[in-house]
Symmetry: C2
Subunit: 361 residues, 2 copies
DNA sequence: GCCTGGCACTCGGTAGAATCGAGTGCCAAG
DNA sequence: CTTGGCACTCGATTCTACCGAGTGCCAGGC
C-alpha cells in the first residue's frame, strides 16, 4: 500500500491539525478551523477537498454529513508514526519524577504500585505497571517456616528483592527438626539458581525429610511460572473522566479488572515491537475505544517488565509517550540500583527510613 | 427523638414498600404503586397523606412536586434496622461460596484478593476486603537475606502466614558471615513475639554484627505498624453500572483509590458497631451517594479484618448483608484452618496443588 | 491546473410550544 | 378516619422552527 507510507506534505499537515485539534477539544473539526491552524496557508475550500481525499484513504471519518472530521485509528497511527516526536515533560513534571524516585523506597511491589500512581498523576490516564518477570532471577534464599503441625510456608527470596511464598499442607505432622533439615537441603539445591532451574536434592538418609523435600520442591518450580500475571493498575477513576458514556467506562474497567487480559495485552504489544496500540490494533474488542502506550523497562540492559498508559484513542500521545519513557528509564535505573546482584554503585540511601507521614496516596 | 424509634405499623409498611420498590426500579414511587403492594389495603389517597407525614418526619423525599417519593438516608436506615432481616443467599450462591472456599488455596493475600472477587460476583457491588491486622501475630521467622554487598532484605514470616519484607541499605559492605550472625540473633530476639514487641537483642561481641542488628531491629517494629493500610478492592466496574452520572462514578472511584481513606472508613463503621453505613452517615462526603455494608471477620473468636460491600444507597441491603455475612464466616473459618497456630483440625487438603488453568478472573 | 470565494444544501443541536401523564394536595361525602 | 373525586403541577416527550457549522460543488482567477 503506497498510501499508507506517505502523504503529500499538505495532507499530512492537515491531518496533523485535525488530530491535534481533536485531541484538545474532542469535537469534530471542520475545514475552517484547520485553515486557521499555523502552517496551513490555503483556504478552507482547498482543505475540504483534501479532507475528502483523506477520508477516502481512511485517515479521517465524519460522524455524519455536515459535521467536521475526526481521525480514524489509521489517522492516529500516521500521526504517531510520522508526525510527532515523543515530546518532553514540563520541567515541573520532570522534577516530580526525579523527586519521586529519590524518595521512593521499600520493597519492589510497593515501589511498582506507587510508580503506577505517579504515572497517572503525570498524565491523567490510567496506568499499568508490569513487574519484571523473575524467571531468570537467582534464588537467594529458600526456607520452610512451620505454621502449624502439618502446615508450613515455603518462602523464597529472589535476587531481585521479591519474595515468593506458598503454604504447603503436608497432610501429616512434621517435626521442627525434619522441617529444618528439609529447609536446609532445599536451600542448598536452589541457591543461586533460578526458580525454574532448581535441581532435585540428593536423597538424604531420612525418609521423613525426603518426603517433605519432595513435596516442597515442585512448589518451587510452580512459583517460577506463577506470579507473572500480576499487574499494577493505577487510576481507574481517570478513565471515568476520559469517556462520557458510562457504558464505555464500565466495559473498559471490567476489562482492566482481568489482570490476565491486561498482561497479555501488554506483552502482545511489546512483542510486536510497538510502543503504541491504537483502538482496534491490539485486538481486544472492549478496549477498541482506547489507546495503549507501552514502554519496556530496562534493567542493566535487559528488559524487565514494562510501564504503560491507557487512555482514550484521542489521548495526548506525545505527552503520554514522554511520560512513559521517562518513568520507565527512572524505574529501570532504580531497580538496577536497589535490587540487582552486582550493583551497589550508588552512594546509598538511608537505611530503610521510617515511612513518612501517612496521607499520601 | 421519639419519631426515630418507631413508626406506626402502617407508615412502616408504606416506607418498606417505597424502599423495596425504589431499590428495584430506581424510579420515584407514587402512592398508587404503594397501594398495590402486598400487605397494604388502603387507598392511594390514604397513602398520600401518610407519605406527607413520612416526608415531614424525614424518611422520604420528593425529587420535585408531582413526582413520587424516594427514601432518604434516614428512610433506608429505618428500613435496614427495623424492617428487614439480613436475608439469605440463593442456593446457587451458597453453593458458589462453598465451592470457592473449598478450592481456594495459596497464601493469604491471594486468597483475600480472590475473596473480594467472589463478593462482587455475588452481589454486583464493589467489594472491599480488609486483611487481618497482624499486630498480634507472632513472628515465626526472621531472616536477613543479602541482595548486594551492602544491601539486604529483612524477611519476617508471621504465624498468620503473611510475610513482611523491607530492604535495608547498610551504607557499607557487610560480609555474609556477619549477616548470618545478625540474622540468627534477630531471629532469636523476635521468635514467638509479635512484631511490635520484639526485644532488643543482647549486644554480641562483634561490633559489625551489632551494627547490623541495630539497623535492622527498628525496621521490624516499623513493619508492625505498617502494612495495615492495605485493602483489596474488587469490582470497581460494578460502580460504573450502579450510577448513571459519570461524574459520580469518577468521584467514587477516585475515593476508592485512596486506600487509607477506605481503610479508615471501614474501621470507623466497625468501631461504631454498625454493619451498614448509609449515605452521609459515614461522613465521607464523596461517598455520600453510596452505602457501605461491613462485616468483621472472626478467626477463632477474635476479630481479624473485615469484608465489605460498596454500592449505591439504593442497594439491596438484605442481599448485601447476607453475602457479606456468609463470606465473612467462611473466610474466618478458612483463615483459622490454614494460618492460625494451634489449628490443623481439618482433614487437610492436597499439598499446595498446582494452580489450575489460567483464564479464571 | 490548482486554488479560491461563493452558494446551495445537510443535518445535528437548541429553543419554544404543545401535549401527556404520573403524581400530588385538598376536600366533601361516606 | 377513609375514600373517591378533582384541579393542579411539573417533568418528560414530541413536534416544529430555526440556527449555524460544515459540506460539496462550481465557476472564475492566478
Amino acid at each position: 500500500m503506497p498510501d499508507t507510507q506517505d502523504l503529500d506534505p499538505r495532507k499530512a499537515a492537515i491531518l496533523e491539525a485535525v488530530v491535534t485539534e481533536y485531541i484538545g477539544t474532542a469535537q469534530p473539526v471542520g475545514s475552517h478551523h484547520v485553515a486557521q491552524a499555523a502552517g496551513i496557508n490555503v483556504s478552507s475550500a482547498t482543505i475540504r477537498s483534501e479532507m475528502v481525499a483523506l477520508e477516502r484513504e481512511g485517515y479521517l471519518a465524519q460522524p455524519h454529513t455536515s459535521a467536521g472530521r475526526i481521525p480514524t485509528d489509521k489517522g492516529y497511527r500516521f500521526f504517531v508514526d510520522q508526525l510527532t516526536e515523543p515530546g518532553v515533560l514540563s520541567p515541573s513534571q520532570r522534577h516530580k519524577v526525579s523527586r519521586f524516585f529519590d524518595q521512593v523506597h521499600g520493597e519492589m511491589e510497593e515501589m511498582l504500585e506507587r510508580t503506577s500512581g505517579l504515572l497517572c498523576e503525570l498524565t491523567s490516564y490510567a496506568s499499568v505497571v508490569l513487574p519484571p518477570s523473575h524467571e531468570a532471577a537467582a534464588v537467594r534464599s529458600v526456607q520452610l517456616v512451620g505454621l502449624g503441625p502439618r502446615l508450613a510456608l515455603l518462602v523464597a527470596v529472589l535476587a531481585d528483592g521479591t519474595v515468593e511464598k506458598r503454604s504447603i499442607d503436608f497432610a501429616e505432622e512434621v517435626s521442627d527438626e525434619v522441617l529444618a533439615t528439609a529447609s536446609a537441603r532445599l536451600q542448598a539445591a536452589a541457591k543461586s539458581r533460578s526458580l525454574g532451574a532448581v535441581i532435585a536434592p540428593e536423597p538424604s538418609g531420612d525418609p521423613a525429610v525426603d518426603k517433605v523435600v519432595s513435596l516442597a520442591q515442585p512448589v518451587l518450580a510452580d512459583l517460577a511460572s506463577e506470579a507473572h500475571d500480576r499487574v499494577f493498575v493505577g487510576g481507574p477513576s481517570k478513565l471515568a473522566a476520559a469517556f462520557d458514556a458510562v457504558d464505555t467506562v464500565r466495559a473498559v474497567l471490567a476489562t482492566l479488572e482481568k489482570q490476565l487480559v491486561v498482561v497479555s495485552l501488554l506483552r502482545d504489544v511489546i512483542e510486536r515491537g510497538l510502543s503504541v496500540a491504537i483502538g482496534a490494533e491490539h485486538g481486544y474488542e472492549p478496549l477498541s475505544s482506547c489507546a495503549v502506550v507501552v514502554t519496556p523497562v530496562n534493567v542493566d540492559g535487559h528488559a524487565a517488565g514494562a510501564v504503560g498508559l491507557l487512555g482514550p484513542t484521542r489521548m495526548n500521545y506525545p505527552q503520554a509517550l514522554a511520560a512513559a519513557r521517562v518513568v520507565s528509564e527512572h524505574l529501570g535505573r532504580r531497580l538496577g540500583e536497589s535490587f540487582d546482584p552486582g550493583s551497589a554503585r550508588r552512594p546509598a540511601g538511608r537505611a530503610a527510613p521510617r515511612r513518612r507521614a501517612r496521607g499520601r496516596r
